[in-house]
């Protein structure tokens, strides 16, 4: 019987042929935790009697959720992470290095065929590189940290065929918001999603990360993509090692196959307080905003900052709007500096903050006031997500957010891109 990508990767990692529905114990290639989850994982690791991680070179600790630390208590948690990483020789990404998922895909250690567990739900981002990567809690992470193994239920796969090309002014973020609106927030719970079709193939790797990143917003365990020349090029550029790529067999068994024609969609916006509450931009255009945010593991990469700079060049943001920009990593930050992107954004009125997650998760760097409205490139608009339950969050592409920052209200970016 044919196998899906998810079944093939887990077969290899479990050392036997497996299919959807089976419980397997699989080898884990990389383990990741961030400062929101690592302290608890380290605590559990010790409670479990853990002495040394199974392989420190496969362990990645990232300080990104509150970086640099805004409070004394968080500083102490950071210190605990650093000491653990230094003691055992784990990879430590400290303040300013970037958002965990961006540093992981830039590391060259995650690639096709890998099994990765991360104590962060958006670990599914690495599916764009053909890796079976999924979010787990701190206890599961501690178990993987000790043993280099973890149990998984082999997921059924939903094949999502995306027919392109995307129209001008419509981006990877619009594509995935459109899909989430159709699937709903639990439409793929416990399933693997396999994204395919011309609209996916045409995306850059950066755009593919955006799409894979949000698989969890429809409940999926992983969001996988087929490996192609763009994947290998990304890996070469980032010093990637040896990897084995898998693709689904023609007779693989899917839970379902869904096709979408994306050739005439508009830019999409997710309205408060649900990621699947999605409308075309025309429907929400005119909604007044107080803050705009460009960044995160979804949309803080170079091409995101480039399109924002293209729109903001020679313009000023609305006088009653704050624009916060957080490059996804130090690497992205430096390149954006070299290209003059940051100068353009700052001249337009943006406040650039340290690469990290703060504004998205509401730990610091841009908590909105009561009753305020934010348009953001993040992946979640849950009530209270940005640190204030009395604020409203709209999610959109970097182009839509940049255009909205200029207009002071949610705005279709397409006229700005002509």
């Amino acid at each position: 019987m044919g196998q899906t990508i998810a079944e093939k990767i887990l077969s290899q990692a479990a050392g036997r042929q497996v299919q959807a529905g089976e419980i397997v114990v699989a080898r884990v290639d990389q383990v990741m935790a961030q400062d929101g989850t690592a302290p608890l994982a380290i605590q559990v690791f010790r409670q479990m009697g853990g002495k040394n991680p199974f392989d420190p070179k496969r362990v990645n600790l990232v300080i990104d959720h509150s970086a640099p630390s805004p409070t004394e208590s968080i500083s102490n948690l950071h210190k605990m992470m650093r000491e653990f990483a230094w003691e055992h020789g784990c990879h430590l990404y400290d303040v300013g290095d970037g958002v965990c998922h961006q540093v992981m895909v830039e590391s060259g250690r995650v690639g096709p065929g890998c099994v990765v567990v991360g104590a962060d739900s958006h670990t599914c981002t690495y599916g764009a590189l053909g890796a079976f990567a999924t979010g787990v809690g701190s206890t599961d992470l501690a178990a993987a940290l000790i043993s280099g193994r973890l149990w998984f239920k082999v997921p059924e796969t939903i094949k999502v065929v995306c027919h392109g090309p995307l129209p001008p002014g419509v981006f990877a973020k619009d594509l995935i918001l459109y899909l989430i609106g159709r699937f709903t927030a639990d439409g793929a719970t416990y399933k693997a999603v396999e994204y395919t079709g011309s609209a996916i193939k045409e995306l850059s790797m950066e755009g593919r990360f955006t799409v894979a990143n949000m698989a969890v917003e429809m409940g999926a365990k992983v969001g996988l993509m087929e490996v192609d020349e763009k994947t290998w090029e990304w890996l070469r550029e980032h010093g990637g090692g040896e990897f084995t790529a898998f693709s689904s067999d023609p007779d693989a068994v899917y839970a379902k196959v869904v096709e979408f024609d994306l050739t005439s969609i508009s830019p999409q916006v997710a309205c408060p307080h649900r990621v699947d509450n999605v409308s075309p931009v025309e429907k929400v255009a005119g909604t007044k905003i107080d803050q705009a945010f460009i960044g995160t593991c979804t949309n803080g990469r170079l091409e995101d900052l480039r399109v924002a700079a293209q729109i903001l060049a020679g313009r000023k943001i609305h006088p009653r709007v704050r624009l916060v920009v957080a490059p996804a990593s130090r690497k992205v930050y430096l390149q954006a500096m070299r290209e003059g992107i940051l100068a353009t954004l700052v001249e337009a009125g943006a406040a650039v903050v340290t690469p990290g997650c703060g504004p998205c998760v509401g730990t610091h760097n841009g908590v909105p006031a009561d009753g305020e409205v934010v348009v953001s490139t993040a992946n979640r608009n849950f009530k209270g997500r940005m640190g204030n339950a009395k604020a409203e969050i709209y999610l959109a592409s970097p182009a839509t957010v940049a255009a909205s920052a200029i207009a002071g209200e949610i705005t279709d970016p397409r006229p700005f891109l002509k």
Binding site: T37, S73, V361
Partner: protein
Amino acid sequence: MIEGRVFKFGDHIDTDLIIPARYLNTSDPAELAKHCLEDADPSFAKEVRPGDVIVAGVNFGCGSSREHAPLAIKAAGVACVVAQSFARIFYRNAFNIGLPLLECPDAPRIPAGSRVRVDLQSGRIEVLDTGEVFTARPIPPFMQEIIAAGGLIPYVEKRLKTR
């Protein structure tokens, strides 16, 4: 056997609502419990008593992988969560830390504020005032053992000792 008062919530209760990231500056369960679900129901943490039960709709626990979410619920005294469905990572985390979850298709019909008796083994949920009975999917035996031990860590310790 669990006996307690029902606190009701709707669909898609996410982990940011259960415990906002601004409180992840600690992993002390008692501290987390003080802020449990405060953005969804500000009085919940004050009113909930040991043995009480959360009842909700679909996709409970969606969003972040933070294990602080089930920890906060458990430390608030909640004996189990009954929902139509649960998000994947939350489901695994809850059993790992010893918080039992029951999937019950009729969960939205269980009255708010009522007293219920819940049998985790059979999945039987009885509303004590009216005698009405709801049925949840029973928890698989292996996961019941984890719950009985108090979570994955004590479960593994126990297994190692009896080897």
